[in-house]
């Protein structure tokens, strides 16, 4: 049945139904979409980072690691801190190509199994994770246990005043190729880098 008037293709009842449903949909979207965007917004906002000075170059040697506390998240006290193990680059064992960002090797203490803090045991020359038994050798390469890739590293640079500074974290695969920082548990060898894509919110090294 067409409408009341000649040439009407939609009845008034159907038109009113459509208008009411559309108005309801618009009203629902008006509060759902902003709330949803609010909740998932942090996925897309890139974290800023500062180069953090960790001491003069004379503090660090090739032979052993020095522990440095760095702040990853400001304003939440101890929960925002993390630990870096820092030593001077040793060309005899560090086979990855040298550039301006790795005169000093800074390893993240975050275990690459599921993120517990590893500690360097100098007697064994190994990094040991307390949670599930991950073990890394002196260079941070996986020596045993469940970790899926070597320990993450930090960019380091030396200022003209002779201070060592820590930059953002980056991840490495088993050949120490650099990748943008991934979470623990995500392998980067083979198809790993495609299964676990880089994210929008991790801090990157500025072009310099």
């Amino acid at each position: 049945m067409p409408g009341t008037f000649d040439g009407e293709t939609v009845t008034r009842r159907r038109f009113m139904t459509a208008v009411t449903h559309s108005a309801g949909g618009v009203a629902a979207m008006a509060f759902t979409l902003p709330a949803l965007g609010f909740a998932i917004g942090p996925l897309f906002s890139r974290e800023p980072f500062d180069w953090q000075p960790i001491g003069p170059t004379s503090d660090f040697t090739e032979q052993t690691y020095v522990t440095r506390v760095l702040t990853i998240v400001q304003g939440i006290g101890e929960a925002g801190n993390s630990i870096a193990y820092v030593r001077k680059r040793d060309p005899a064992i560090d086979t990855e190509p040298e550039d301006q960002y790795n005169h000093f090797v800074a390893l993240s203490s975050r275990c690459m199994h599921l993120g517990c803090p590893v500690r360097f045991v100098s007697a064994a020359q190994r990094f040991i994770c307390p949670c599930h038994g991950g073990v890394y050798d002196f260079r941070g390469m996986v020596a045993g246990g469940p970790p899926v890739r070597p320990l993450d590293r930090f960019y380091t640079r030396v200022t003209s005043a002779g201070m060592v500074e820590l930059g953002p974290r980056y991840s490495v695969n088993s050949e120490l190729h650099r990748f943008s920082p991934r979470d623990p548990g995500q392998p980067l060898d083979g198809v790993g880098q495609y299964l676990y894509p880089k994210r929008f919110d991790t801090s990157i090294l500025p072009q310099s």
Binding site: G80, G185, Q186
Partner: protein, 268 residues
């Protein structure tokens, strides 16, 4: 609409018929007026809502022969949830989701200083484990009794969603005391989420509200724990109960269906 039968009240609760001479001169004594008052209020509400029919439909329904204590596990789980809801509301009056140390301090205050705080927190903490145990026992009962079969598949599916939501409550609630154990357990849990291919990295970013465990991670977990998931659980429990009442509960598998001789074809 057919009239519902009167609820089968036990003898002791049924109204006693008036004895002759008890109310001889027709005057209403105060005791009788007090007795009438409650009935009047209930009547007033029922006349405007017709709730009594719904309550009768929900509570005074037929159950099959052979039901036993295993059939109470669902109610037990629901009461565990109610315990969590009530104690959780009162814990929220003292809790402060502040990652800089306020969260731990407020939990310490609840445990050490607040009157009955240790009891209420323990009820919430142990009640969480009790709820998980009961929900699995309830699921085992439904599974082994075959109660998930037609026409109750949707009840089962809603139950599975409730199970997942309950586990999510356990995960988000574990962080809130914000001590070493809960912090590192949450780091590990979020990273396990991150190992899912393709969406895992974004999922853990969503949980943390960023690439690192940050200032809003704790309040995010707190909001999910005390508003988002409880609302969903309450709504789905409502749907679960509606379906149970609508479909009736299933008989245990060892009860044989009784044949109605009237339905049998007459012999020729």
């Amino acid at each position: 609409m057919p009239k519902l039968p009167a609820p089968p009240l036990p003898k002791s609760l049924q109204p006693r018929p008036k004895r002759p001479g008890e109310n001889g001169n027709g005057a209403v004594r105060p005791v009788e007026a007090a007795q009438e008052a409650g009935i009047t209020v209930v009547d007033w509400i029922d006349e405007r809502t017709s709730l009594s029919g719904g309550i009768r439909w929900l509570l005074f329904r037929k159950v099959p022969k052979g039901i036993n204590w295993f059939y109470t596990l669902g109610s037990a789980t629901m009461f565990a949830f109610l315990n969590q809801a009530v104690t959780g509301v009162f814990l929220a009056m003292f809790y402060r989701p502040d990652a800089a140390g306020g969260a731990y301090e407020s939990v310490r205050y609840i445990t050490d200083d607040a009157f009955l705080g240790q009891l209420v927190r323990a009820m919430h903490k142990w009640g969480a484990s009790v709820m998980i145990i009961l929900i699995f026992l309830h699921m085992a009962r439904v599974f082994f009794f075959g109660a998930y079969k037609y026409p109750r598949e949707l009840t089962w599916i809603i139950g599975v969603v409730l199970l997942i939501l309950t586990l999510a409550m356990g995960f988000t609630g574990y962080l809130l005391p914000f001590d070493q154990r809960s912090y590192w357990a949450t780091i590990v849990g979020v990273n396990i989420n991150g190992t899912g291919p393709f969406i895992g990295p974004y999922l853990s970013d969503f949980l943390r509200a960023g690439p690192e465990f940050g200032a809003t991670t704790l309040s995010r977990f707190y909001a999910i724990h005390m508003m988002l998931i409880p609302g969903l659980i309450a709504a789905l429990i409502g749907a679960h109960l509606y379906l149970i009442t609508k479909l009736g509960i299933s008989a245990p598998p060892w009860i044989k269906a009784q044949e109605d001789p009237g339905l049998r074809e007459s012999q020729v």
